[in-house]
């Protein structure tokens, strides 16, 4: 094991981690405002991939237009899911909402199975993201460089929205006390919709980059990354946006490093995130950035 290989794996790990981070932000924000684990979030990511696929491969749009439209459309899907499935259950027990979320997740998976079939589709990767740069033996695929940069840009934008705008203030207030915020005259449902829109938008972004990294998509593709992203959100401290990003990096890098260091365990790759999750919940249930599970802070 020399330095080149370690660096190479680190490059892989960071780009994978930033994808987990993008998806984890959606979990953490939704949990922050309405205390719901949005089970369907991984499937929303899958929806984003398919929208982009339809845009590029079937409607022949330029890739940037297809990607942007797909992210916007996915944001709407997120809002619709909230309005139709979660909003009627706002005052019901949290478990009822969770069961509904499982239903939504299954609905999306099976709807896309019916529409697109179970056969994996080849995702058309634009040439910009195709090549690779070789620096002293360490290969930097373009996608591995672009992913973390894009993730960072969007994370910065999100933090700006959260801390410098009125809606961001409303979101942070909502995570502390929904009823008081409602009494103060804030349109709570509107703010929650925006949270779903942002989360789904970022999930679609993560999904598109995921699809360019592993360019074969199927309707069940969102499950595994979704669950790992959730583990990342908990690791970072659920309710904290910066924590979700950090958690994503940790899960991504450690997943890649473990496989690189112990190739014999490669088959168990998908189980790692959960062992991680269980250990975090056992020893530091509040995660890295979280202080108290009952208080959201972003």
């Amino acid at each position: 094991m020399n330095l080149t290989i370690v660096l190479q794996q680190l490059v892989n790990g960071i780009s994978l981690g930033s994808l987990y981070g993008l998806v984890a932000i959606g979990y953490t924000m939704v949990y922050g405002v309405i205390r719901l684990i949005n089970f369907a979030h991984g499937d929303v990511m899958m929806v984003g991939m398919y929208f982009a696929f339809v845009g590029v491969a079937m409607l022949f749009l330029p890739w940037w237009a297809a990607f942007l439209l797909s992210m916007i459309a996915t944001a709407f899907v997120g809002v619709i899911i909230d309005r139709v499935a979660y909003k009627p259950l706002r005052n019901a027990s949290r478990i009822s909402a969770l069961i509904t979320a499982i239903g939504v997740s299954f609905f999306l998976e099976n709807l896309f199975l019916v529409v697109f079939g179970g056969v994996p589709k080849a995702f058309p990767v634009p040439s910009v993201f195709g090549g690779a740069i070789n620096i002293h033996g360490v290969i930097f695929p373009n996608i591995a460089i672009i992913t973390p940069i894009v993730a960072m840009v969007f994370l910065a934008m999100l933090l700006f929205i959260l801390h410098k705008t009125k809606y961001g203030m409303a979101m942070r207030a909502l995570s502390l006390d929904m009823e008081t915020v409602r009494i103060m005259g804030v349109n709570v449902d509107m703010v929650i919709s925006i949270v779903f829109a942002i989360g789904s938008f970022l999930a679609a972004l993560g999904g598109i980059f995921w699809a360019m990294r592993y360019p074969a998509i199927n309707p069940l593709i969102g499950i595994m990354p979704g669950l790992k992203a959730f583990a990342a959100a908990v690791l970072g401290g659920i309710g904290s946006v910066a924590g979700a990003a950090i958690g994503g990096f940790i899960i991504g890098v450690s997943e890649i490093l473990v496989v690189a260091l112990f190739p014999a365990l490669a088959g168990y790759k998908d189980a790692f995130a959960f062992l991680f999750l269980i250990f975090v919940l056992l020893f530091k249930p509040t995660g890295i950035m979280g202080e108290d599970l009952e208080r959201g802070r972003f």
């Binding site: 719901l36 684990i37 499935a85 009627p88 259950l89 019901a92 949290r94 478990i95 009822s96 969770l98 069961i99 509904t100 499982i102 239903g103 939504v104 299954f106 609905f107 099976n110 709807l111 199975l113 019916v114 179970g118 499950i223 669950l227 959730f230 583990a231 908990v234 088959g267 168990y268 998908d270 189980a271 995130a273 959960f274 062992l275 999750l277 269980i278 919940l281 056992l282 249930p285």
Partner: protein, 345 residues
């Protein structure tokens, strides 16, 4: 014996008369669906013991069923079969020569599953609510990953083939009735009341001196045992098992059953199991091509699952109680109802 016990025994006898009649007069297809119904009844009832009665929303049954199925199947396969089947890597020697008949294999499967449930209970019951759901979901996934990778024990992705088809309609209904009796007795005991107390208010239950951890653990282990046995029955019904059989889909089906029936009601579970299993067979119509007035409608494979997931969402939004809520059938209530009907007339 009082009236209610006699009536219960009579209805069980009636059920077995129905099974006896069915065995001789039903088609193989109908019998198979009834077998499925009975196995799913047992799985759903034990799942409801954790989720509905104790109120610990968890998503692990597919993991437990997988463990039970693999253990029982490995035990009933003959050494010769195992040698022929494990082509990638030979089986570990201490398992390769192990051989048992059906009932002990089922019981060992159940016990191993219960033991795994016991071990799993320690970490997972340190968290509550939706975290418990995710952690147990992760357990189900981990079991699948493990069964895919421990090639010397489970034959990896190839799975196990040629399992003797010991399971018949008598085994299925026998176990279903047995599990229902045991679970109902638990639910109606002091133990069961402690479980319900945890569901209704865990903090209050702690304040009343209930050791919530061990009560939850007991529910979990009992459910794990029956889910393991159910897995063994399934394995010997289908005769081939592979890791892809025990996906989250299995858990989802059980979840629909207990939600439709009403979380916490065993009566509801019985009704819902029959409805869901038979309903899902009837819904096969939508997946087959149809000709209506000369109009050809191609079948849409996978449509059933879309309908089921919509059903789950609709029930959660509009009829959260399910069919029975948390009520149970009882003979007293039944006769009271009859009396009322007669009085009205």
């Amino acid at each position: 014996m009082n009236r209610n016990t006699i009536l219960t025994v009579l209805s069980i006898v009636l059920l077995f008369l129905f099974v006896w009649y069915g065995e001789h007069h039903f088609t193989a297809y109908t019998i198979r669906i009834w077998e499925n119904t009975a196995i799913f009844l047992m799985l759903a009832a034990s799942y409801n013991l954790i989720n509905g009665v104790t109120g610990q929303f968890s998503l692990e049954p597919n993991g437990f069923v997988a463990i039970g199925a693999y253990v029982a199947a490995i035990l009933t396969l003959t050494p010769a079969q195992k040698e022929a089947m494990f082509i990638i890597e030979p089986m570990v020697p201490w398992l390769a020569h192990l051989h048992m008949s059906f009932l002990p294999a089922l019981l060992v499967g159940g016990l191993v599953t219960a033991f795994v449930g016991f071990l799993l209970g320690f970490p997972v019951f340190r968290v509550r609510g939706d975290y418990l759901a995710i952690v147990t979901l992760g357990f189900g996934l981990t079991i699948r990953v493990i069964s895919n990778n421990t090639i010397t024990i489970t034959n990896g992705a190839l799975g196990l083939k040629g399992i003797a088809s010991y399971t018949n309609i008598w085994w299925c209904f026998g176990w279903a009735v047995l599990s229902m009796i045991i679970i109902m007795r638990i639910v109606n005991s002091a133990f069961g009341r402690a479980m319900k107390a945890i569901r209704d208010d865990e903090d209050a239950a702690i304040a009343m001196g209930i050791n919530t951890f061990w009560i939850k653990m007991a529910a979990f282990v009992i459910a794990a045992f029956f889910e393991g046995v159910g897995g063994g029955l399934l394995a010997h019904l289908i005769t081939t098992i592979s890791p892809t059989m025990f996906t989250f889909f299995l858990t989802f089906e059980l979840l629909i059953i207990i939600v439709v029936g009403g979380l916490g009601s065993m009566t509801g579970t019985v009704i819902a199991t029959v409805l869901v299993i038979w309903g899902s067979e009837l819904l096969r119509v939508v997946e087959q091509p149809m000709n209506i007035f000369g109009l050809h409608i191609p079948g849409i494979p996978g449509m059933r699952m879309v309908i089921f997931s919509v059903l789950l969402i609709v029930i959660m939004i509009f009829a959260r109680e399910g069919i029975m809520g948390q009520r149970e059938f009882s003979w007293d209530a039944f006769f009271n109802f009859l009396k009322k009907v007669r009085a009205r007339r």
